[in-house]
């Protein structure tokens, strides 16, 4: 609120004008698209999971690993042929939230920066977008696991 107080009347007027002309995001439509595209990606993942359970003797618990790897392989192909970008424009979070979106972030950054060379370009920029996910995933997992381990050691739970 303090921000608003510092603005001149002209700036406030402009802000109102801006808000009037700003495009309203079609939240409902976006959510429905995200729902069915994201759901379908998970159905594909489920099919791959069953494939690994029945063909390669993985259990329900361990089949998640090869499934994730396969999904990332598929997202490499889709990203390389430019399909995933179009899917992303259509489905928003529906294509970003599944692990294929994580793969897409890594792979598209790798492809995009290859003109800068393999070491500084591809190597340096590969985790430009996905790095945040890894950082906060690892750090929060560390905190959570540490707390839980300490609680177990002290006999609290």
């Amino acid at each position: 609120m303090s921000k608003k107080a510092n603005k001149t009347p002209e700036q406030q007027q402009y802000e109102q004008l801006e808000q009037k002309h700003e495009l309203k995001r079609p939240v409902m439509k976006n959510c429905i698209r995200a729902f069915w595209v994201g759901g379908l990606i998970c159905v594909v993942g489920q099919a791959i999971t069953y494939f690994y359970i029945y063909r390669f003797d993985f259990t329900e618990q361990t089949a998640g690993n090869p499934t994730v790897a396969t999904m990332i392989f598929l997202s490499m192909l889709l990203t390389g042929f430019g399909v995933y970008d179009r899917l992303g424009q259509f489905a928003g979070a529906g294509s970003a939230v599944p692990v294929t979106g994580f793969g897409n972030a890594v792979i598209s950054a790798a492809i995009e920066h290859r003109t800068e060379g393999f070491v500084l370009g591809v190597g340096g920029n590969m985790f430009k977008l996905a790095g945040a996910v890894i950082l906060f995933g690892v750090f929060s997992a560390f905190v959570v696991a540490l707390i839980k381990t300490l609680l177990i050691m002290w006999g609290v739970i």
């Binding site: 759901g39 690993n65 990203t79 979070a93 790798a110 996910v133 997992a141 696991a145």
Partner: protein, 118 residues
Amino acid sequence: MLPMFFWAFVIGGLFCVFGQILFDVFKLTPGHTLSLLVVMGAILDGLGLYEPLVDFAGAGATVPITSFGNSLVHGALQEAEQHGLVGVLTGMFEVTSSGISAAIIFGFIGALIFKPKG
């Protein structure tokens, strides 16, 4: 088998709707949204809530990025059970190694065979 596909669709879809709401209503960038979802997954697993969800919805819970946080915590806890506190560090990537290695390997292969567009 069929109900599993159904629940994978519904739960996986709901995760994506949650992400979409964070995009549209709370105006977060994709980076912020995905980071938040990963942290959520880690906390849910710490509370012991993610495992039942995986049993119930299969890929609907393992494919969204929240499962990344979940498997990080899982690996750390598994190892901590055997080796104590050090296990939290050494076991972190135990379960989730396939996702990270696949992303690195296929990312590099992708950069080798595909040319940037535009």
